[in-house]
Point group: none
Amino acid sequence: MRTSDKHQKIIQAAIKVFARKGFFSARISDIAKEAKVADGTIYLYFNNKYDILISIFEEEIGKIILQVKLAIEEETDPRRMLEVFALHHLKLVEEKRDLAEVLQMELRQSNKFMKEYRNTRFIEYVDIISTIIHLGQEKNIFRKELLPGVAKRAFFGALDEMSRLWVLAPETGYTIEETAKEISNIFLFGACSQPMAD
Amino acid sequence: MRTSDKHQKIIQAAIKVFARKGFFSARISDIAKEAKVADGTIYLYFNNKYDILISIFEEEIGKIILQVKLAIEEETDPRRMLEVFALHHLKLVEEKRDLAEVLQMELRQSNKFMKEYRNTRFIEYVDIISTIIHLGQEKNIFRKELLPGVAKRAFFGALDEMSRLWVLAPETGYTIEETAKEISNIFLFGACSQPMAD
Amino acid sequence: MRTSDKHQKIIQAAIKVFARKGFFSARISDIAKEAKVADGTIYLYFNNKYDILISIFEEEIGKIILQVKLAIEEETDPRRMLEVFALHHLKLVEEKRDLAEVLQMELRQSNKFMKEYRNTRFIEYVDIISTIIHLGQEKNIFRKELLPGVAKRAFFGALDEMSRLWVLAPETGYTIEETAKEISNIFLFGACSQPMAD
Amino acid sequence: MRTSDKHQKIIQAAIKVFARKGFFSARISDIAKEAKVADGTIYLYFNNKYDILISIFEEEIGKIILQVKLAIEEETDPRRMLEVFALHHLKLVEEKRDLAEVLQMELRQSNKFMKEYRNTRFIEYVDIISTIIHLGQEKNIFRKELLPGVAKRAFFGALDEMSRLWVLAPETGYTIEETAKEISNIFLFGACSQPMAD
DNA sequence: GATGAATGAGCTTTCATTCAT
DNA sequence: GATGAATGAAAGCTCATTCAT
């Protein structure tokens, strides 16, 4: 019963433990203890250790995508949309620090130890950005020459790197709103005080 | 003798193996075989498996910092400096894909399994960007309101995310020069066709 | 109630599963699934996994002994008796291949993992042969010098080895009747074309 | 190095432990302790637990086949050959009781847990008997009608069943020579005091 | 009586590290 | 310095057995 109480308890425990120790250093018994179940119980709900990680990816990113899409739908200006995305992303990092940590670290190198697993949910998430960029280009708000494949990654990368800092050292001196605004601004208008020369 | 022939051979072998399998899945015997030395020999040059990883961080990032700083010194315009940094960074990723992969993946989560290790070389590298930004602000080329702590990470994050793509799927359709230029442009002038309203 | 419906269902399921996987590789849940009962139900009828195996020995060999004794009682000539025994034994192997397989394999090594269990039913079965031999000696049909302890085992061993073949590779090219006759003949009259020299 | 000292030490230890506890109940650590090596050392010489068992089959039966063939070559009369085979077989059981036990029990059910393994050495061993029988038929010493496929198994089965007794209860009251002679006699001349009627 | 989710002891196997040669 | 056989701790996973429902 995938939606049972135990399934969720184990997922949440695993997020905590993976965040604290990393996937490889985390022991099944750590997760079991954190979830207050027996070691063997974990194998009633998951096939193996990898399966727990994949489930975290699938289920938790799924929830996030839903939330972010919902929040963006309320905006019409692509510039505002990006800011909302940024705000949402950073808020999530703060509110669910453990999950953010797991997604940040383990998701990246998951392809190393789970050759067969393609993380489509993650791609889906990042593609929310490219959809916004396309929209902005259609509306003549964003430059036509912008390479969407690069731009979406530039924006996501900027956010992600800030998240990394937050995860590592929660106290940065900047508020979330401030940071989201700053990153959106840089992405939208650049760092220069003067517009592009050419 | 830390700079001995064997020391280097092991470091290079470890970069290859860590890139291929990830730090945890890599076995000492894999590295030894790749380096064409006996397993035990590795322990004449390194204290343990972690020590190899740390040495990669320290020594290889050290070399990169030197190179990048040298290249930037030839420029005077902070805008050009950022472009040169971007170009250099991406070039390195292409030329030393294995190293890039190790730095990208393992460096991030190193704090998980090596609690005591503070990666100062990495900070030093990213701080090249903040130095450029400060310079730009002093020269009134970059906006004064720019938060350097956020801006440096935004720029580095954008580059890093592109690198991640390159490492995962070498064929992206964009050239390095194109990508470096695009990222610099977005960072300098933004995505918008019109400058900031206010 | 030991003879209840469930008890029998479990026994029959266990015979199937033990035959297919062997005692050790068979899981209680396999047997439960085969018997269409819950895992826990098995423990209402048996103390543990070993107990199921012992029950198979006791109950199923019991039935066989009864049958064989009945069939032999109809004969008077010890030579015919042996042939009937052989025929019966081989027929059983064919008709109840799963049971035969379990008795052949697991019964043998049962003493390894069930130190305390003495398989008296099995001894009882083999002793049907020695009874026949004694009878034959009394009637001066069998040689007086024949060592009954060896002879009974020689006869049983011959049959058992043929059964082993049948269980492993059902198609041997010989019929049951042919084989039973051949083994009886060898046992009764030997392989030689000339009688014993001395 | 398959012929190293350790390889043999582990094989011999495994024979002892398998004989005592059976393959499944034997723990790797039992074998390691018996062989006076570390658990891990076993995996330098064998791929896994099954591999140890297979090696016992291959190597030890190989030795036995050589010995038996050598002993038989000295005889010319097929009747004597069979007696020599019997004697040799039973002697081996007495001299190497542990090995005999392992071969007897585990070899039988090996097909259960090692689906892919075909025990050709065992077949080779039993086929020594059929070669003798064929020779006897050619020389007109054994009856032409004898089915070699049945006869070889009858003879081997008789010996094997006696061995089983010996392994289980070493004291039977019969000497090896006596038993070998008796089994050969039964096989050659039958149990009857009078030759076959027809 | 029947169920099957939960338990946790137990075992195989891996691999970083050591050390005699 | 260099080797690689040997070590043994450690961890993922299985499954007989229990027990609350």
